[in-house]
Symmetry: C2
Subunit: 428 residues, 2 copies
């Protein structure tokens, strides 16, 4: 029974009923969180072998480097081998960092502000305003970085194949102030979209007006499948290789980390790019640090053995995450689908379900949830400047609550979504 | 027998003898390193308890935070307690970072370039050239940061009490483009100088022309004494407190790390400053990262227990370092002092002995050493732009070689110092 076919009286009666239910739920003093892409306790427990992975025999690496001491700016060879397999690049084209790929992305933009990219004018010295393209809905922390540096953000709509490439090509090829685009190419945050082969190839074949334009390719969920069967997993062509084939070897910075593989606070991160870009970055890094935590790099090696070990480990994450996604999707299918008041994604990987309410309802839903003790990502957060022009996108992060908590949180969310929708329909 | 009293013929005969000896030493194919302030293997072994400090019972902190997961931007309370004791500041006024205080300093300067300091104009947007005062001899990696950002570096001479404060006061109070000064206030790098109480108080009472002037107070060696007896240790007044007393609460950024306490590659670092500065920094950090490695913070806590544990631990480092410093100083006293060709420091802590050759000899000594298989810090590295106007300062880092290697390396150094000095005297 679609809400859209109800009469005013029927809607009002439904509103009364929903308000009563909402009042009851508010009385429960819930304290649940579906706001961030955080692993839950069971997932953290999967990596407990990391805690005592190292022994006194393990501290010198295969190149006879004492990993306790200073040095090795770009990471030990074993860590490069592991993460280059993860990110699918040659071992020479990677730099291993500390615990946060977000920090690597921040540093990459920050360095461009003060020093440009491979010899270009520092962005802070340019007369006009630097611009970034921002596929939407997207990742709020990406947008926070570009906003912090005063970079103008231009939203680019996404469909099931990725960003609108006509628009991307037009901006990138015509405007030399367009210096970058934020991409989460696989199991995107929040849409769960994986870019199609055509989209990836159009990225690789971009003809930027700016010599210092780069694609900021945040491969955060590259091995974060929800299903073990290959036919239920998404694949994308490797962008660095595609760029090289297209004669564009330098236009991508690729990022990854083990934050959602081992421990979110204690993972290792990496950047992969062309030899020219990597050399440029290392020249800056050598001023910034003597090197990142090599013992933590070793700890990852000892724990996984090799990339196959990491892939097997990810199946254990999937086994925990799959039923959680199912909980949310089942409830949406059962409670919301018949009402015709929202659309949502059904991702094969990543950490989020993206839901679009009727126009003008997202903020109200999130606010009703908060008031009932269920924290959601702020409405609008998936758009630059927090500005969702339709006020419709909500990012659901089902991973952090326990299965029982998640069911409670979903009930609240579904109720709030109904309530806000009926309110909206009555306004019209 | 001072070289300075020798006749030309005597010098030439000495030169022949030294050259013969040098040739022999070059035949030994030595490969020794006195170039960097790196702990040796015995020192690293002191912290082996760090490797298995954590067990599965230790991963939730006293505030019930699961330290494996995301979050806690500024560090867990236990780490703040430990490092605020080390750096002598209130626990509210500290932020815990990753493994490198150098990285924290770099980020501090980088943020000033793009965002100014507490609301001031970003340095990259200023018309004139930003300037930093650089007490000399000083730390090459400090100078590398300011040089990287195009900041003009002005050398300020040091004496046994610290930098020339007349000069510092004059520059700081008269030139609004002077935005900072690099300081290693205790057991300085490389001079081993500890600033006098008067110098510290004059720092605290500076009247900067620039609102965004800050003292970059790198307390790298705050607990790095060579001797256990209090009367053989240096003390300085706590600068943040002195600044507050002087009505200048915001003019200091204080840095420290455990790089030379636990493992150099896997320590934890911190910044301490006034509440206003700390709030400003946190606002930026929240864009840069979700938080640093909390498990490594916990590891430090479990290993040391508390600050007293850290102080006891430092005595073990001192027991290893003391005889090494003695080896160098004894050899200099015996072999060089009578010749009247150099002066050197006799520090009570830190990682370096600073030696001044006759004018125009330092580069030659370092080059002779390199050729004989003994790596020294580049001559000039202790000055901005690598420019030692007298070509006389050499930083000796006695910590990394084993005791036996150190003796060999010192023999080579002493020989090269003699050889370069005789060559120089014969030029005149």
């Amino acid at each position: 029974m679609s809400y859209r076919t109800l009469s005013k009286e029927e809607l009002e009666s439904e509103l009364t009923r929903l308000k009563r239910e909402y009042k009851q739920i508010c009385g429960l003093s819930l304290n649940l969180d579906m706001s961030r892409g955080k692993p839950d306790k069971a997932q953290l427990d999967l990596s407990m072998g990391m805690i005592d992975a190292l022994s006194s025999d393990d501290l010198v690496n295969e190149q006879n480097i004492d990993c306790r001491n200073y040095g090795v700016l770009d990471g030990i060879i074993e860590a490069k081998r592991l993460l280059s397999a993860m990110i699918e690049c040659p071992i020479e084209d990677i730099i291993i960092y500390g615990n946060s790929s977000l920090n690597v992305m921040y540093d990459t933009v920050s360095r461009s502000m003060t020093h440009g990219v491979c010899g270009s004018t520092p962005w802070a010295k340019l007369d006009g305003k630097v611009k970034f393209l921002c596929p939407v809905p997207g990742y709020d922390r990406h947008f926070a970085i570009t906003e912090f540096f005063g970079i103008e953000m231009i939203p680019v709509p996404m469909d099931d194949n990725g960003p609108d490439m006509d628009m991307v090509e037009e901006y990138v090829s015509s405007d030399p102030m367009v210096k970058g685009i934020w991409c989460v190419p696989k199991y995107s945050n929040p849409g769960g979209i994986t870019y199609s082969t055509e989209v990836v190839q159009r990225f690789a074949n971009l003809k930027p007006a700016a010599e210092d334009f780069r694609i900021y390719w945040d491969n955060a969920y590259c091995i974060h499948h929800l299903f073990d069967e290959p036919e239920n997993q998404d694949y994308i062509p490797e962008i660095l290789e595609e760029c090289q084939k297209a004669g564009n070897p330098d236009i991508v910075f690729k990022f990854c980390s083990t934050s959602k593989v081992t421990f979110p606070g204690s993972g290792i991160a990496a950047i992969a790019s062309s030899p020219k870009n990597i050399e440029f970055i290392k020249n800056q890094m050598t001023v910034q640090t003597i090197g990142h935590d090599k013992l933590n790099q070793l700890r990852h090696i000892k724990f996984f053995g090799d990339f196959d070990g990491m892939v097997e480990h990810m199946k254990k994450h999937a086994a925990i995450l799959r039923p959680k996604f199912k909980t949310v999707l089942d409830m949406l299918d059962k409670e919301i689908a018949p009402l015709d008041i929202a659309k949502w994604s059904n991702p094969k990987g990543g950490y989020f379900i993206s839901l679009d309410t009727m126009d003008g309802c997202a903020k109200r839903v999130v606010s009703l949830c908060a008031n009932a003790g269920v924290k959601m990502t702020d409405a609008g957060a998936t758009y630059p400047y927090g500005n969702d022009p339709h006020d419709s996108n909500i990012r659901i992060a089902p991973t952090f609550p326990s299965p029982a908590e998640l069911k409670e949180a979903c009930k609240v969310f579904v109720l709030c979504l109904k309530l806000a929708s009926v309110e909206k329909l009555l306004e019209n």
